[in-house]
């Protein structure tokens, strides 16, 4: 898979994962609720909401950090871009972003 496609898959994948972790009401609607099914004393759907809404989101964030850093390294290495795309060489972007300043005010 090309780095460009990896970026798209990673972003969409983690967007969906984040939604699944922090929006657990649809799970409860689909699976139904039963207050007699308990975890640590809480009804299952309530426990899932508060625990997954915290630790689930945290876990997804750690995984995303790891994969996004790796992807960034692949993108900035530029090797693939040189081989596959053969585009115009531009200076690496950075916090100064002077090249972006040249575009300021232009209507795109």
């Amino acid at each position: 898979m090309s780095t460009y496609k990896k970026e798209a898959v990673l972003t969409i994948g983690f967007f969906v994962l984040y939604l699944l972790m922090a929006h657990t009401a649809p799970w409860a609607i689909i699976l139904g609720i039963d207050n007699s099914v308990r975890v640590l004393g809480y009804p299952l759907h309530y426990f899932v909401a508060i625990a997954v809404g915290w630790f689930g989101v945290l876990g997804v964030s750690i995984a995303w950090n790891h994969l996004a850093d790796k992807l960034d390294d692949e993108i900035t290495s530029g090797a693939e871009a040189l081989d596959e795309e053969g585009g115009i060489t531009t200076p690496p972007a950075g916090p100064g972003a002077s090249e972006f300043e040249q575009l300021k005010g232009k209507s795109l």
């Binding site: 871009a81 300021k104 209507s107």
Partner: protein, 546 residues
């Protein structure tokens, strides 16, 4: 219920603790001032903040007075659905960093408006600035009023002098310290908030009989049966699936466009540091949110046990009441300091956000040749001016500015999020599509809500007041219009548009970090049309009567 029962018996304990913490905030602000030499120092702390401090500061910006007061009250009214409503707010920073934060950092911009200006041009930037300032002003006025009410109700001090003095004191320390001071103060305030929320809560839960009181966020499970015997519907979903879809459409998509949080991420020392903010942020916010649900649960449990039903205005003070009932007075004083920390940290982020848009983006567009030193001076004027203007508006706020902040999130989702997210991920979105989509969706959102044209409003009750009913129509509208008008304009403009498209490829690909521009990445239209098709059923569902 008599108001006086909510006040600290010894007001001086509360005032003493508050004066002490504000002295600390001013000390940090003066210390930070010595390191502020450029506009980048003033607005984004010289991009020098590490992930742990930044995550604490971002979490503090996100926690407002409502975390201590309003949330607990709303859990008492809505029970479980409000917990679902609040939980997804943790996605604010994760989603904005995932979808555009790293790209903004790479561009070196200070705000979302700066991005809009570079991506779409000045007209779109003025429009984005107007929406963002409206949203932040609504937010800020709510915090100023909330803080004055804390002084009035919890300490028995007169409202108007409390509002004026607290607003001036807060404006003073934020102006002195700039983003660097605000960041370190926000981090300190987040620590104060977490201690003020979690530690006293452990004692409250112990008194109420929770066996896991030593870890309050998950320590009250053994109280479930008693709660169910008193309020059998506490854990019910209550609302239909459309309500829960609206949480995603109006709130999740709204909060990911909030400028003050995006700016906070831009203070990071590197892209990797900006990413590291996310898990730390989730840790702190998850802890604070979970403690808030526990406090709400404890409040419902406490009053249900006493057989009392609180009126909404009294429910707001549940956190303090529980502390007064179960903890020593000085603890309640510290909790009040926590409430104020929540309010002032939010105001700090908003004030700097507004001041950056005014002092940097708007003045930068009007006077592009201004030197950095002059911009820095304008920045300080902007900061102080933002505080003063917000105070003046807060003295007698227009009704439309004091509606629920949840409503403002829906406006952000309709008018701001599409132009930012689509603009960062597609080179085919252009100025005409972005401006048209933003104006039409934003104005429709206002028109369909019950505040300006009540007869034209969609839905009723809470669903309408929070903007959920309107957002289910206007958010899909915003995305569909932005895409379809952009592509239609591109077709109409013909070959004359090619130069613009080339420049857009250059910009968008470099934003994503590509060292060579291919001219083909982010240029597909298929996914844009798929996105529009996915929005159609949401729009149709939103158009059905509630």
């Amino acid at each position: 219920m008599n108001e006086i029962v909510w006040q600290l018996p010894n007001v001086w304990i509360g005032i003493g603790i508050i004066v002490a913490v504000f002295c600390l905030y001013y000390g940090v602000a003066f210390y930070s001032r010595s390191g502020t030499h450029t506009t980048a120092d003033l607005y984004v702390a010289g991009r020098s903040i590490g992930p742990v401090v930044n995550s604490l500061a971002a979490a503090a910006t996100w926690m407002s007075v409502a975390t201590f007061l309003g949330v607990v009250a709303l859990i008492q009214q809505l029970h479980l659905p409000f917990v679902y409503m609040w939980i997804q707010l943790i996605l604010s920073v994760p989603l904005l960093v995932l979808l555009y934060g790293a790209m903004f950092w790479r561009m070196g911009v200070f705000t979302s408006v700066s991005f809009v200006r570079i991506r779409y041009g000045q007209h779109a930037a003025y429009l984005a600035a107007a929406w963002m300032m409206l949203i932040m002003l609504m937010y800020m006025i709510g915090q100023f009023v909330g803080i004055a009410k804390v002084f009035e109700v919890l300490l028995g001090l007169p409202y108007m002098p409390s509002l004026i003095v607290s607003a001036l004191v807060i404006t003073g320390y934020i102006t002195i310290g700039g983003m660097k001071g605000a960041t370190y103060n926000d981090a300190i305030q987040m620590v104060i908030m977490m201690i003020a929320l979690v530690v006293p809560l452990a004692a409250i839960l112990q008194h109420l009989g929770a066996t896991g009181y030593w870890f309050p966020p998950l320590g009250y499970g053994n109280m479930t049966d008693i709660m169910l015997s008193k309020i059998p519907a506490f854990f019910d979903l209550k609302f239909d699936p459309r309500f829960y879809l609206a949480l995603f459409v109006a709130l999740t998509l709204g909060i990911l466009g909030l400028p003050q949080l995006a700016q906070r991420v831009l203070t990071s020392s590197s892209i990797k540091a900006a990413r590291r903010v996310v898990p730390w942020f989730c840790l702190w916010v998850g802890l604070a949110f979970s403690a808030t649900y526990a406090m709400g649960f404890a409040g419902v449990f406490h009053f249900a046990s006493l057989g009392q039903v609180l009126p909404p205005e009294a429910a707001d003070k549940t956190t303090l009441l529980l502390n007064l009932a179960y903890n020593p007075q000085w603890v309640s004083g510290f909790v009040i300091a926590g409430v104020l920390a929540a309010g002032v940290s939010t105001i700090a982020g908003l004030m700097i956000g507004v001041a950056t848009i005014v002092g940097h983006d708007i003045i930068g567009m009007l006077k592009p040749d201004l030197s950095d030193q002059k911009r820095l001076r304008w920045g300080y004027v902007g900061l102080a001016g933002t505080g003063i203007v917000s105070l003046l508006i807060s003295l007698d706020p227009p009704a439309f500015l004091i509606v629920s902040i949840f409503w403002a999130f829906g406006m952000c989702a309709s008018a701001v999020t599409p132009m930012i997210v689509l603009g960062a991920w597609s080179t085919r979105i252009n100025r005409v599509g972005a401006i048209s989509g933003s104006i039409i969706a934003g104005l429709f959102y206002i028109a369909l809500s019950p505040y300006v044209f009540p007869d034209f409003s969609i839905g009723s009750g809470l669903i309408a007041k929070l903007g959920f009913a309107a957002a289910l129509i206007t958010v899909p509208m915003g995305f569909i219009l932005t895409v379809s008008i952009s592509l239609a304009y591109e077709k109409l403009a013909g070959s004359a548009y090619q130069k613009v498209l080339t420049e857009t490829h250059d910009l968008v690909e470099k934003m994503h970090g590509w060292p060579k521009v291919s001219g083909t990445r982010y240029a597909g239209t298929q996914w844009l049309w798929i996105l529009c098709v996915l929005w159609v059923p949401v729009l149709i569902w939103g158009l059905q009567p509630w």
